[in-house]
Symmetry: C2
Subunit: 502 residues, 2 copies
């Protein structure tokens, strides 16, 4: 791609009968300040990919509006000229949800970076979509409040992107996903209308469009304002680091903690390769001989934490833990977490590249799926380290590879697909918190039969009659699934009978 300029592409599109880049630039500049309409290759370069950087495309045009009215103008013009639009927050997404289209407009919400209101009586804040996730908690810290969902990219990721992807984080076991922590949205529709979704009260009549919009990956509308819930900061938090000699015992311990009625603020698991890599990197004190460790955080008042930590100790001992260590102070707590938080960069020290997967499974399947991933690792001849939100059954297998070895990226992607299908076989899903984007779109064909996909398309059409909002992401066409199914048959077996129906 690097040797083809956007102008070359624009001329090719002109020849094909689509509206040309010059006309589209002119149409946008006629109604918007010229300096917010970017169109030369150099200006467009920063938008060519998001966190899934293996995929890159220069957009035809990028627009950086600063007001809701400008967003409405962009959408109205694009609708008129049948030009697709990809909205982008901070661009930290891991599934390519903000990957531009070479014939499309990239709509950056970067200038929507203000916290508009903090309402301490009702514990909520009104924020613009470009506000960074962590900035909300920082803004209300002096009030003893915070915003709960904490994806690991929270320093950089934007709240608008969090809503579009329904982001989670370490604490979503207790405090819920993004969908449980917002109460109202302002959106701009594909044709430039403004809609209010949800309300200032806890429940809203009519269809639950608030949940529908959350996690819809930019396919239903452009989010321009968000009312988030705030929570009082817990008095205390303490972490139990629990080692196991056996992965199955660790998996059972997770289920047993939840069954005991304990609601940890976080319940994370690392397997042996992840433990070794992170321990060498940050020296968090992880037992490198363990088959798996659990990090179980309890928060609340001092008495609550003391009591629940004791209960956790008892449950994990009964589940066969080989060692239990409780953080003695905030410094040690931070150290225990430092390993978990550094797990991804730690992989960079033991492998030139790694591919971060994301799937969810019912909790009781944890051990079986881990063992299954180990078998796939042998089959594909590639190492895997597992780091995951165990309490939610949300896995993050990290496949280690070297992109410089010919064919290794392709084999890694195939391995990733096999992990997705393993999750599905155990009643799971192909993504937990990273979204489908372009990355998992073929696996959607495996998860969903035709009737469900048709229903998704019908819902999409109810918001976007011309299919201009982030096309090619999140929900595959039936045609794509038929092709994917045919390819799988070609490889010798039909992995899931659903595909035969497509």
């Amino acid at each position: 791609m690097s040797d083809v300029t956007t102008d070359d592409r624009a001329r090719a599109l002109d020849a094909a009968g689509c509206i040309g880049k010059p006309e589209m630039v002119a149409a946008l500049q006629a109604e918007l300040p010229h300096d917010i309409v970017l169109h030369d290759d150099e200006s467009l370069r920063p938008f060519e990919c998001d966190g899934l950087s293996a995929y890159r495309t220069l957009p035809m045009i990028a627009v950086l509006p600063a007001t809701i009215e400008q967003v409405q103008t962009v959408m109205r013009i694009c609708y008129e000229y049948d030009t697709p639009v990809v909205a982008r927050g901070a661009g930290t997404g891991l599934s390519g949800g903000a990957l531009p289209l070479e014939r499309g407009v990239l709509l950056s919400l970067a200038k929507f970076n203000r916290i508009l209101d903090v309402d301490t009586d009702n514990l909520r804040a009104t924020v613009q979509p470009g506000v960074r996730n962590l900035a909300i908690s920082q803004e209300v810290d002096h009030l003893g409040l915070y915003y709960a969902p904490d994806p690991s990219s929270q320093i950089a990721c934007s709240i608008g992107g969090n809503v579009a992807e329904n982001s989670g984080g370490v604490h979503c076991l207790k405090y819920g996903l993004t969908t449980h922590n917002i109460i109202k949205l302002e959106i701009v529709t594909v044709d430039g209308e403004r809609l209010t979704i949800g309300s200032d009260a806890l429940d809203s009549p009519g269809y639950d469009l608030l949940a529908l919009m959350t996690g819809s990956e930019g396919l239903l509308g452009v989010i321009v304002e968000i009312v988030v819930k705030l929570l009082p900061k817990p008095e205390l938090a303490q972490v139990a680091m629990v080692a196991f000699d056996d992965v199955r015992a660790a998996g059972d311990a997770v289920a047993n903690i939840i069954k005991a009625g304990i609601v940890p603020a976080g319940l994370e698991m690392l397997d042996s390769p992840a433990i070794i890599a992170t321990e060498e990197f940050v020296h968090a004190g992880y037992p490198t001989e363990a088959a798996a460790i659990l990090l179980c955080e309890i928060d609340g008042t001092e008495a609550e934490v003391a009591e629940d930590i004791e209960r956790v100790r008892q449950v994990v001992n009964d589940s066969g833990a080989s060692d239990v260590r409780i953080s003695k102070n905030d410094g040690e707590r931070a150290l225990f977490w430092a390993g978990r938080k550094a797990a991804f960069p730690a992989m960079g020290r033991i492998s030139p590249d790694y591919y971060c997967m994301d799937g969810t499974i019912p909790r009781k399947a944890l051990a079986d799926v881990l063992i299954g991933i180990g078998e796939l690792s042998k089959k594909y001849g590639q190492r895997v380290a597992n780091v995951f939100h165990a309490g939610d059954g949300n896995l993050h297998p990290l496949i280690l590879y070297d992109a410089n070895n010919p064919g290794e990226l392709e084999r890694t992607e195939e391995f990733g697909g096999a992990i997705c299908e393993l999750c599905l076989k155990h009643g799971g899903t192909i993504t937990g918190e990273h979204g489908v984007g372009v990355e998992k779109i073929d696996q959607m064909c495996v998860q969903f039969p035709k009737a469900e996909l048709l229903q998704f398309h019908a819902v999409k059409a109810a918001f976007d009659d011309k299919t201009l909002l982030n096309p090619g992401k999140a929900v595959p066409t039936l045609h794509r699934c038929a092709e994917f199914g045919a390819m799988h048959v070609h490889h010798g077996e039909m992995p899931f009978p659903e595909l035969e129906r497509l």
Copy 2:
């Protein structure tokens, strides 16, 4: 209506060119056991109303399928003949959501009354929609588990109806509404297709149709199977009964409890008329001189409860409580709740009739709305008692009236509409947990501007292209709103500018 038989109506409809009752009965009986297709007036009588008994209509036909395949057959035939369908669970709904249509089929899910599976590893149960809410908790009681949402009708109401209305209950402040306590649905679509919505894992990719279906009041599909979450029963629960001399102090105390980071299992409020009426009825020990009381339940382990109860005591004392009493044992706890639970029947002792409203407001508006309701009470010359889920801002004003006085029911309904509009003025909504049904359909015109209503209709069309599923409920037509708006103008003023846009 009582002197018009369904056969008379059927003949009138025949004359109007619609499919006649005999043809529809024949079409259904051709593919279904005859004894599940009811069509004479006597058999239809039990279905003529739900819990909103002021509205009554005999359906043309009632069908009582026992299998999902039979539901599919009913839907397919009704779709073919353009016959509308109203699904019904236990018929305990309070907004007329299951009110039949005289030209429609009433689809009773009463025979779907089995608990199909209890999965203790993943803490969930698979149930049929006709299972009573409380029956789920009873079934898993010996496992130390329960199903959290507990609407006050839980002895009788069905879980399918709970999903359709997104029911809440006393404990939804801590444990969420129905939408937070289910993870998967099987539905039959308007044309008889079967769809699986959600998954066995905690998150599912694609649009969140699970939340969209929940609370959709039977307008998007027929629910035929539900996977609910189960929770471990808390070790202990204790209630603080707190008295206030002043309604505003009570409202502030609610906000202060939440701001302190306490998450009560329940946080209920009764105002003076409600206290007096219930105390005379059940002798729960309520202080009859108080302006308001709060019932604040804390659950958890013994230490957690002890600590949080002390924190509640401190917060309410700081907020100006005149008296605080803590339940000493389960007997006293039950007694404190007995008053709250008997509040509705208690009204029957002091008034021939009462009308139970349902609205939600942001918590900080509690005192202002209560005072506003008091002013409306004077204006309309009718007494009101207030009983509500204070923690959620979910009000249940009970308007007392005598249906035997000519015009009093009509005045009561107008008063109820004014309360809805008062909630909206304070950023609230027109319904909390009872749904819109037929009862609040005009108030939907006040809550939602045209753009939102159009979006609702587009979503509806994505599931029900012929508008056959529960038509006339939940979401008003634009025509209806225009008429409602015109009427309001006619009365002298346009209460909300939204209506001018319709």
